[in-house]
Symmetry: C2
Subunit: 119 residues, 2 copies
DNA sequence: CGGCATCCATTAAGATACTG
DNA sequence: CAGTATCTTAATGGATGCCG
């Protein structure tokens, strides 16, 4: 598999900035995790608590991907009980502008976009 | 099914602006379609041509969702051959700020985020 | 506490074939 | 040209159980 296969096929996405963003921030939870991390370092359970509905499985996978791509750092303290802290890298913090833009856009939506005719 | 089930479960996403954005702009192609539409009205085949790799099936589904949620207008001209033009609504055009933020972020990425250690 | 492994449900998306 | 219908694949994401 090539490294840019967001889908599963030979003709994936174009190589624009938007596509690059989408490759790393894929899935509905990914962006929300970053959103929480923007408030500061979080432990695993703190993220679980801050993201009601997310599963440990999903959180683990997203976090690992972020760490792998340099958006997040993972610091494990060899204590009993163990403690692991996730923190955004400078690159991750740059995402604040994108998140803010999303939030700002949602404010312009007159709520009618979320109550479409056909469900 | 409820209208906000991005996933399939009873505890979906929080109701923040970011989540709302994610509900409408889901999947890797959705945002890229909007990106093309920001350049002006497009016919179906023009979008197919502008988005190498996308299938008619996917394009149709994304377009229908956008129209349903008021991000895009669909204008069909009763001609032979038929002509259908898709155009962003003012709400859709507001997304430009988000797309620009994504693009801007991707420029700060030193390309190392796309060549991770473990693939 | 912070995971990981396995199985399973949902869905975005591609391939193909067909219609008005 | 502009779809629609059906089948299939891949990947996110949830549920459960187990481990250090």
């Amino acid at each position: 598999m090539s490294q840019n296969s967001a889908s599963h096929n030979s003709a994936p996405l174009p190589d624009c900035g938007v596509a690059r963003f989408l490759l790393l921030l894929d899935g509905p939870w990914a962006t929300l995790i970053v959103r929480e991390l923007l408030h500061g370092p979080h432990r695993f359970t703190e993220l679980m608590d801050a993201l009601p509905g997310i599963s440990a499985h999903t959180l683990t996978n997203r976090l690992r991907k972020f760490v792998r791509h340099g958006l997040v750092t993972r610091t494990a303290y060899p204590e009993i009980p163990p403690r692991v802290v996730y923190e955004l890298t400078p690159l991750g913090h740059q995402l604040r502008a994108v998140l803010t833009a999303m939030d700002d856009w949602a404010l312009t939506v007159p709520t009618s976009a979320f109550t479409p005719t056909g469900g």
